[in-house]
C-alpha cells in the first residue's frame, strides 16, 4: 500500500565497500569510532554510500546518542494563538532558522490541544525532544515547575511570571510603552488614551504595559485622567477567552473615548495591534478621521499593521530574533558536540529592545 523505499543500512554500505560497519559509520556519519581510515577506504565507502543513497537512521542514532536533535515549540491552546497567527509564526521562523543552522528538527507540541502540561512533559519523558520553547505562558500555567523538574532545557519567550528558574527571552514592555508615549508626545499630544485588556485572564505582559503607561504619563507630566485608561471599569464586564477579544476591546474603547466629548484624547495607544486596529476602524465608521481627528497606535508590529488603511504606527517586538536566541540557547546546551561550550548554571534572561515603526495612523497634533 504505502511504499517507502527500503532504506540501506550501514550493513549494506559495508558489504558493497568490502569493510566493516564500524568503518562505514566512521566515514559516513563522522562518528568518533575508527578515526584512522585510509584515504582509499574513505573514498570507496563514500562512493558506496552515495550510490545507495545511505542516510543514518534517525531513531537508531537517537537511541545511541541519547539526543534527538529535535526541539519542541509550544503555544497555549487559546483560540487566537497557533502558528496561523502572525505573532507565533514570526517567532517560529526564528526558531526554525537556528534549527537549520545546527541541523536540528522542530516539533510542534500540542498546537491547539488539550492536556498541554502532559504533552509537554511527555515529549521530554519519551526523549522525543531535547529542548522546548514555550510561547505565551504565564503563571496560570501552574505546571511550569513540574515541567522544569523533568528538564531544565526549557526557555520561555515573553514570560514575566514568578517562576524564576525559567530561562526566558523577554521583550522590554516598559521601554516599548515609553517609546510609544514619547512618539505621541513629540507629535504634540498631551492627552493620550490607553486601551488595556479586558480579558478574563490578563497576560502579565499586558498588565505591565498598562502599569508602564500610567507611570510614563505621570513622569512626563501628560494628562493624567482615569477616563483615559480604558479597561474593565468602562466595559462593565470581563471578556471570555472564546470571544474575539481584541476586537471587542478596541471597539468598546472607541465608543468610550468618543463618548468623552471634548474630554476625549487626541491620541490613543493600545496594548496591542489588533485592538488598535479595531478601535481605529470603529472610529472611522463613526466618521472620525485617522490621523487627522485622532491618532492611534499599537504595540508588537504585527503584519496586520502594514495591511490596514491607514497603516498603523506600532512598536516592533523582535520575535524572530527572540525565537532564534531561544532555540540557539537550547541547542547549545543539548547538542553533544557543543555541550562543553555552554554557559554556567545561572538562569538566562535576555531582554530585547523595542523599535518604533512610524506609519500613517499617527501625525502631529493640529
Amino acid at each position: 500500500m504505502v511504499r517507502t523505499r527500503n532504506r540501506p543500512t550501514l550493513k549494506d554500505v559495508a558489504k558493497l565497500s568490502n569493510c566493516s560497519i564500524a568503518v562505514v559509520s566512521t566515514v559516513v556519519n563522522n562518528a568518533k569510532g575508527n578515526t584512522l581510515v585510509s584515504d582509499e577506504m574513505r573514498q570507496r565507502v563514500n562512493q558506496a554510500a552515495q550510490h545507495l543513497g545511505y542516510r543514518a537512521h534517525f531513531a537508531s542514532r537517537t537511541l545511541k546518542e541519547k539526543c534527538s536533535r529535535t526541539l519542541g515549540v509550544y503555544f497555549p491552546p487559546v483560540p487566537w494563538a497557533g502558528a496561523g497567527y502572525g505573532y507565533e509564526g514570526a517567532m517560529i521562523r526564528g526558531v526554525e532558522k537556528a534549527c537549520r543552522e545546527f541541523n536540528y528538527d522542530l516539533l510542534l507540541v500540542n498546537m491547539a490541544g488539550d492536556n498541554d502540561a502532559q504533552s509537554c512533559m511527555d515529549k521530554f519523558a519519551e526523549s522525543r525532544i531535547d529542548g522546548l520553547v514555550l510561547m505565551n505562558v504565564d503563571d496560570q500555567h501552574d505546571w511550569l515547575p513540574r515541567l522544569l523538574d523533568i528538564s531544565s532545557n526549557v526557555v520561555a519567550v515573553d514570560y514575566s511570571g514568578r517562576v524564576d528558574q525559567l530561562h526566558a527571552m523577554l521583550f522590554d514592555n516598559r521601554a516599548a510603552v515609553r517609546q510609544a508615549v514619547e512618539h505621541l508626545a513629540a507629535l504634540g499630544h498631551r492627552r493620550i488614551g490607553f486601551i488595556s485588556s479586558c480579558k478574563a485572564r490578563v497576560h502579565q505582559d499586558t498588565f505591565e504595559r498598562k502599569l508602564a503607561f500610567i507611570d510614563t504619563v505621570k513622569q512626563m507630566g501628560l494628562d493624567d485622567d482615569d477616563q483615559l485608561i480604558f479597561d474593565t471599569r468602562f466595559l462593565g464586564r470581563v471578556i471570555e477567552p472564546d470571544e474575539e477579544c481584541c476586537m471587542v476591546e478596541g471597539q468598546q474603547a472607541a465608543d468610550h473615548f468618543l463618548s468623552l466629548g471634548d474630554q476625549r484624547p487626541t491620541a490613543i495607544l493600545a496594548y496591542n495591534d489588533l485592538s488598535a486596529v479595531a478601535c481605529m476602524h470603529r472610529m472611522m465608521a463613526q466618521g472620525v478621521r485617522v490621523p487627522n481627528d485622532i491618532c492611534i497606535m499599537g504595540i508588537d508590529d504585527a503584519e496586520l499593521c502594514q495591511r490596514v488603511y491607514p497603516t498603523l504606527t506600532s512598536i516592533s517586538h523582535p520575535l524572530p530574533e527572540m525565537g532564534y536566541a531561544a532555540a540557539s540557547f537550547l541547542i547549545k546546551r543539548s547538542a553533544p558536540e557543543l555541550r562543553k561550550t555552554s554557559q554556567g548554571n545561572q538562569v538566562v534572561r535576555q531582554i530585547f529592545a523595542p523599535t518604533l515603526i512610524p506609519r500613517q495612523s499617527t501625525a502631529a497634533l493640529r
Copy 2:
C-alpha cells in the same frame, strides 16, 4: 549543565514489580507480546510504572516498530509563506488536529530554508517521518517525482500540476470564481474587473482562477473586455518573488481601473485577499468609497478579511479541513494499527468546495 531527569526504562519498572521486561512491555505499552498476564501482575506493573513515571522511549520504539508516528509539513521557501502567514497556519491547524487524534507528532520541514528537495527526501530516508504534507508546491518543484520515488506517503494541498501520482487535497478554484462572479452579478454588477497575478512565477491555482474568470464572464454574458483583466500587460513588467507582490499587484490594479474613467468596472474580483485589500486601500486613498462607488472582493477568506475596514467579502478556502483530510490520509496509511484498513492503490484527489462569505466590501449596484 542541562538536567533532564533520568527517565526510567522497562528494566526499572520490571525490577520494581518483580517481573520481566517482556511483561512490563505488554502491560504498559499495550504491546502484543505476552498477551496473558494475570490481573494481579497487571496491577503491580501499572502501579510501578505510574510511580516511576514511565513512558516508552520514542526512538527505541520507532526503531523496533519501523514507524516514527510523525508527519512532516513542508512549505516552499518563498518570502511570503511560512507558518507566520494565515494561509499556511490555517492548514497546519487541521493537520495538527488529525495528529492529536491519532497520537502522531508533527515536524516542520525546512520552513524557510534552502535545499528543500533534499530536506524532504532526507526526512524519509532517515525514517524521521512516516508521511509528508506538501503545501503550495507546483511543477516548478521538479523534484516531486524523485520524492515520490522514495515514499508514496506524500499528499499535496492545493496542487494542480502535472505529477498525477501525487495524492492531493484540492480547492475548487473554478467554483470559487464562479461563486464570486455570481455574487457580484446578483448585486447587479455587469462590468466586473479581475486582478490576476503579475508574479514572475505564477502558481497554477492563480492561473486557473484567471481562466475561470474569463470563462464565467463569457458564460454569464457579462461585460467581456480585455481592459477589465489586470495582469502583466498593464503592469508592463513582471514582479520578482522578493517584492511585496500582492500589495504591488493590488495597488497597480487600482490605478489601472481608475484610469479607465467611465469604462471602469463597478466591481472588482481579486485572485486573492491580499491583493484585493491592497486595491481597496489604494482606491480609498484616492477618495473612492467602497462599496458605494466600487465593490471589491477577494478569494481564500484569509483572517485579514475580517480585520480591514470595510471588511472584505471573500470565498472561503477550507484549509483546516483540507489539512485534516491530508493528515488523516497519511496516518491511516502508515499507522501499524490501521494499515490494513487503508484503501487501494489509486491516487486520491479530494476536492473541497468554496463558500461565499459576504461582508461589507460588496453591495448592490446603485
